[in-house]
Symmetry: C2
Subunit: 189 residues, 2 copies
DNA sequence: TCAAAACGTTGCGGTAGAGCAATGTTTGGC
DNA sequence: GCCAAACATTGCTCTACCGCAACGTTTTGA
């Protein structure tokens, strides 16, 4: 059960099995159905989740009621409403399983306890924050610098997994266009 | 010279003068003229900068040649091309002083050395990353969820300092519209 | 100090993408 | 295995914002 998580830590920090065993019991297994939510808008996020199997989606809903997907966490990645987790304020993001999934959940309190006491977890958190920041920045660059069709082409080339695994509706919300527009873009490819 | 930086550390970590003195000599004073660049697109970023006086702007240029401002670092804040600093790859961002400024510069190498050896600097870096991430996320929410005029109204209400201190051209690039559009939006306020 | 350059404004026309409606296609719960 | 509900496609129209051109105003540097 902890094998993928150990592998994740091992790759990033070179931690040994013994040290890992010292804290991995803070992570609890949770199974969750397709389309079920881990967190709704307005709730304060009190967990971090490592995806053993399946996929999480982090998304928001804007003023016009349009869903906007921020991030997908596939197997072997952490996923949470990071902004709410950090700020401890009501979340503007939803966290949802878009496939039947198996997660390793750690409470906020335990997570930050480990960040402050276990150097390897401190490093992992630093790494999560760095990658989350870089991803956001590239996202902004994309939204401000590329047309919707260029974004779709990029996705086709570099993230075919996303296209084959997810519904058009979800892909549209990730590209930041309506399903109507995505359908038209696909037609003119 | 180190007073604003000490105050910054003091507020965030409660550090004492003695510990601070142990590492503050890694920060070197640099004076820079208005509109001068600290980093150009394509260069690898090897520094972090604390703003004692003046203001830094981090921006990119998209495919159409349009400038897009990501972030302003006013007095008492750190500013750098964080993505390039982390990845150690050529930057897609420019770092520019938009006023005559006084900076405290630390090299990448010394900065990460301190992050790894001084708990208070580790915490400061964590805080910088957390805030940078949250700012990016709110930016994306804004770009995808609000019209340009709503963004301008928000700026008027919550960031009047930006509006009064900076040129329209720079403000337009921060709002993600052309100077033409900004001018028209101001007319219809 | 004064001319050149950069900046700001506004009229006009163009374009990417939104949104409704109507229709065809998948999907999943019983 | 079937039917309702969700999803996908496409024609038509609409809107926010872009981008040029032309002109007035401010800034700057020799």
């Amino acid at each position: 059960m902890y094998k993928p998580l150990y592998q994740y830590f091992q790759e990033k920090t070179g931690i040994d099995q013994n040290s890992f065993s010292g804290f991995c019991h803070y992570f609890k297994l949770k199974k969750i159905k397709k389309n079920e939510h881990l967190l709704m808008e307005g709730e304060v996020c009190t967990f971090n989740a490592f995806v053993n199997k399946g996929c999480l989606r982090i998304y928001t809903i804007n003023n016009e009621g349009q869903e906007l997907t921020r991030y997908f966490a596939f197997e072997g990645k952490f996923g949470t409403a990071l902004t709410s987790l950090i700020e401890q304020k009501p979340s503007f993001e939803f966290v949802q399983a878009i496939e039947k999934s198996e997660l390793l959940i750690i409470s906020r309190q335990n997570f930050y306890h480990l960040v402050d006491t276990v150097p390897q977890v401190n490093f992992i958190y630093r790494n999560i924050l760095e990658m989350a920041y870089i991803t956001s920045q590239k996202r902004i660059y994309d939204l401000q610098g590329q047309s919707a069709i260029e974004r779709l082409k990029w996705l086709l080339e570099y993230q075919p997994k996303i296209l084959s695994r997810l519904s058009s509706k979800v892909i549209a919300s990730y590209l930041g266009v309506t399903p109507y527009t995505l359908s038209r873009l696909k037609a003119e490819l």
